[in-house]
Amino acid sequence: MAFLTDRKRASGLGSAKTGTEHFWNMQVSSVALAILVPLFVFTFGPVVGEDHAAVVAHFARPFPAIVAALTIVVGFSHFKNGAQVMIEDYAHGTMRKALIIGVICLSYACMATGLFALVRLAL
């Protein structure tokens, strides 16, 4: 016992054993998005309004394609967790479960569609 720190003896003994993952995921994804969002706005923005050939050529380049892919993955993951908090505040019971499942499905569907489109554009 003498070799255990106070932190080690206390950890995992709370009533829920877990519970900080959601908060930590939001912190990590928000730091990532603080870097990704400005990069995405200024690599995606200029190509909106261009013709089809220019758009295809733009996303065949590595930097715009990788920034867009990372923003889509981290962004929809951040949306999934953030929208869940809003639903938990306003909806209750079965409606709450249904809406949270719906948001999770929408987030992963958008993520998969965006990545599929980017891979097709890049290759």
Binding site: G45, H52, C110
Partner: protein, 127 residues
Amino acid sequence: MADVNRGNRPLSPHLQIYRPQLTSITSILTRITGNALILASILVVWWLLAASYDADYFAVADAVVTGWFGKLVFLGSIWAIWYHMLAGLRHLYYDSGRGLDIPTAERLGWACIGGSVVLTLITVVIL
């Protein structure tokens, strides 16, 4: 005795009893902007999917994205994403245990509002 007067107790004050404050308004705006960004996100994903498909399908999606509806959504979303980003950075600062006294919190609130408008103008000029 625990269930005496169940459901008929005085309630804690509801939203309508509070005077709107800068800190509460900026907090509510963070939630609204973050969740509203789903609309532009879906448009972006659809536009990318159409671009990856062929020129005809791209023309359909591009007409929506660059039409009045798309322009309105994207202009609003440019402000929303800058506001949400600044408010998020403010939350990270709060989470470190700093900036929680009222004068600092109100200054940070005005910084989010002013900063998001400035960043939106810069973005619109550049793009």
